[in-house]
């Protein structure tokens, strides 16, 4: 349940990024800025669902410390930083910089998503947490 929902949310964020990259590549910065806002918001909401609801639930069982959720939070920080820089590059109409940041964002995010989809979400499905309640709270974020 959580696995399916969150994996689908990853794909939806990817789908928001693809046309943004196309607009940057075409140097249509007005459109790029328009597309950037919903993309950034979707990414930040996904992180918030995890950091505010899912990770604390998991940490009740697996602990915090320097474990898996700690590493995922660190990577969220790295991705947030790239997204901010990407927004600045679009505003500055710097095509090369924006495409470079976009590519880096994409690979960084995908390796991060792989870890979540292969390890963290399966973990959340197998731990005795209330799936429906957790999902409901995540959707409310």
């Amino acid at each position: 349940m959580i696995q399916e929902f969150m994996t689908q949310d990853h794909r939806e964020c990817d789908n928001l990024y693809a046309p943004l990259e196309q607009a940057i590549n075409a140097e249509d910065f007005e459109k790029a800025l328009e597309l950037f806002v919903p993309f950034r918001d979707a990414m930040l909401r996904h992180f918030a669902m995890e950091e505010e609801v899912l990770f604390p639930k998991l940490e009740e069982f697996i602990g915090g410390g320097e474990g898996p959720t700690y590493v995922m939070r660190m990577e969220h920080d790295q991705i947030r930083s790239i997204i901010n820089q990407l927004g600045e590059a679009i505003e500055a109409k710097n095509c090369d910089k924006a495409l470079g940041l976009g590519e880096t964002f994409m690979i960084m995010t995908q390796q991060h998503n792989m870890k979540e989809e292969q390890v963290l979400y399966p973990m959340s499905e197998r731990l005795p947490i209330d799936q429906e309640e957790t999902l409901k709270k995540m959707k409310e974020v």
């Binding site: 474990g67 590493v71 994409m106 690979i107 960084m108 995908q110 998503n113 292969q118």
Partner: protein, 399 residues
């Protein structure tokens, strides 16, 4: 239940980098050997072991924490402990087969230690995966195939200078597991994961991917059975295996063509070249063994490896620098001169076509291409070490 799981971006860059650079140097060495007319089993293994297996070992070391959530302990030490006997073994093997030096016994022992040891540790870790995705399934089949390949290879290497000579049956089974099991399944498994994610494409549903993976594995085993018991009936089974790989190649090409990230970049070009040759396997088979194997190894697998290296090396350089707290480093795209990477793609694609006509002509192009690959990848590596020498803004310990 989840004891020992870690999502840390292990290992340190130097650990897989040793295998990536070692692999490219062996590709240069192999191309030189062919250019000088040395076309034999020794040279073949400069490519299969020295180039492909080396990069694949590095890639597995890097990917395991991502797909399985389990890292190798003491990764730098592991890299050295595997790389030293591995590379000495490959060189010994080459000089045994190509120059008649009697180094086959020490080479066999060194290769068994390196690849056998790495394979057993990796397979054990793959069985700890919390989720059996088609990628994990294909990786298990690949590493299991590596172990069979190594066992048979070592046995044959030790028998090389004995009175019994080489067993044709063993050689055929060794080649089946090496080409289609170890190399084929690893690329299939990695592409299930990487293609939809890196290029934003549709993906086959999980059941179909698992079915295709099992279909490939069962057909491979049927081929092995065919070699063992029904020598005459082998061709139909072999063509069936090739057709399944063609199906995989066509499905992946279709995915790539419908990708949502429309930008054309060198790595996509390398994927197209590799998958293009893979899709032609049932036709290439009729060209004869040497050309078929060369196109499978360098047209298909070598192209996919280049595609992955152009992504992995700049990304890891950027990632480690970023995790030390720096913000001013170049992006991945700025680390590689795209025009030079496209020039390499052109050279590599031309070389793969040239393999149809002249191995030595192809070797000249491959040599230029692999040197170019090495030079293109040197920049992200230099940037990594330049930042490593600077004091970190976080004051974070570096491994």
């Amino acid at each position: 239940m989840f004891k020992g799981l870690s999502l840390d971006q292990a290992p340190p860059f130097e650990a897989p980098l040793l295998f990536f650079l070692g692999g490219i140097l062996f590709a240069v060495f192999g191309s030189l050997a062919v250019l000088f007319g040395l076309i034999d089993f020794g040279t073949l293994h400069l490519f299969t072991l020295g180039f492909l297996a080396s990069v694949m070992v590095g890639a597995l070391q890097q990917m395991l924490p991502v797909v399985v959530g389990v890292r190798f302990d003491r990764p730098k030490l592991l890299s050295i402990a595997v790389a030293v006997p591995f590379y000495l073994g490959v060189l010994g093997f080459f000089f045994s087969l190509s120059f008649g030096k009697n180094l086959s016994l020490p080479s066999a022992i060194l290769l068994l230690m390196a690849l056998g040891g790495f394979g057993i540790v990796t397979l054990t870790k793959l069985f700890k995966a919390p989720r059996l995705s088609p990628t994990v399934l294909a990786m298990r089949m690949s590493v299991a195939s590596l172990l069979v390949t190594v066992a048979l290879g070592v046995h044959m290497l030790m028998a090389l200078h004995s009175a019994h000579g080489l067993s044709d049956t063993f050689a055929r089974i060794h080649a089946l597991f090496a080409l289609f099991g170890w190399i084929g399944f690893l690329i299939v498994g990695v592409s299930y994961q990487v293609i939809p994610m890196f290029y934003v494409t549709n993906e086959l549903d999980e059941k179909k991917r698992s079915l295709l993976t099992w279909g490939l594995f069962v057909t491979l085993l049927l081929n092995v059975g065919g070699v063992l018991v029904a020598k005459g009936a082998g061709i139909a089974l072999f063509v069936a295996l090739l057709l399944l790989f063609t199906l995989f190649a066509l499905l992946t090409i279709w995915q790539l063509r419908a990708r949502k990230r429309a930008i054309m970049e060198p790595s996509i070009g390398f994927w197209y070249v590799g998958l293009g040759w893979l899709s032609l396997l049932p036709l290439l088979f009729w060209l004869g063994g040497q050309k078929f194997v060369a196109l499978y190894l360098l047209g298909f697998a070598g192209s996919i490896i280049c595609a992955m290296l152009y992504k992995i090396i700049p990304f890891l350089s950027w990632f480690h620098i970023s995790s030390w707290g720096f913000f001013d480093m170049p992006t991945m795209r700025e680390m590689i001169d795209e025009r030079l990477a496209f020039a390499h793609l052109f050279l590599h694609a031309s070389a793969s076509v040239m393999l149809l006509f002249s191995f030595q002509g192809a070797a000249a192009l491959l040599l230029a291409g692999f040197v170019m690959l090495f030079l293109n990848l040197l920049r992200p590596i230099r940037i990594y070490f330049a930042y490593k020498a600077k004091p970190s803004p976080f004051g974070k310990m570096r491994t």
